[in-house]
Symmetry: C2
Subunit: 135 residues, 2 copies
């Protein structure tokens, strides 16, 4: 199977497959006689695995770890769960930050009339003291 077909089947762009090979996330592909990369059904499964974990926000490094655990039939489920739980922590951390940002922005935009006049509480807030010096 050529890289284009592998890309289609796995959902990972051809360019990205080559990139994953170049950084060692996947082993170098077998080559056909003409020099083209040649992929098997198993390779596609690996690419799909990568695709799914990437979509769940795991870093490429973590995906590498997950791939190793996947291949290692002696792994403990605890080691996998630990990696996943750590990632959940990071995601929740980020959600919290974004929610705080969101609330601040909503407070600001609520106070801005948003018309033709130049005076704007949003810019005022960006320009003035952050919060506590208003007391």
């Amino acid at each position: 199977m050529n890289i284009g077909t592998a890309a289609e089947e796995s959902g990972v762009p051809a360019k990205t497959i080559r990139y994953y090979e170049s950084i060692g996330l996947i082993p170098p592909a077998r080559r056909a006689e003409n020099g083209y990369r040649d992929y098997s059904g198993f390779d596609i499964e690996t690419l799909k695995f990568i695709q799914r974990t990437r979509k769940l926000g795991f870093s490429v490094k973590d995906v590498g770890g997950l791939l190793q655990l996947w291949r290692d039939k002696e792994r403990t489920s605890a080691s996998v769960k630990a990696l996943a739980l750590r990632h959940i922590d990071e995601v929740e951390q980020r959600i919290g930050e974004l929610q705080s940002i969101r609330q601040t922005l909503i407070d600001l935009t609520d106070r801005c009339h948003g018309d033709d006049r130049p005076d704007c509480p949003i810019l005022d807030e960006f320009a003035q003291v952050p919060n506590e010096a208003r007391d």
Copy 2:
């Protein structure tokens, strides 16, 4: 004021101030006789403005836009509000994505016993069909 002091006062690292200058987000700093960058209180205000908007997740490009609006006394509050509302949309979008990721990961980890045995629903899910083919 030297760059180190400006960094301290504004909260923007010296390295980052130079970077902002290099990409044109801020104009080239005045130079003292020894060639050192020299910052004024007004420069510090600008850096603080940048710091605050960056912390609210605006891209450097958007921060540039906000700086222009800030300097332009003829701007309309509507233009500022529009930029902010657009950013709120992006933030909410991202929060939604992360919440969906979080839920998926929690569902997965809940089903994983996390002990010494190798069988693990998390890896199974990453390896198997995504969702719909389970039906």
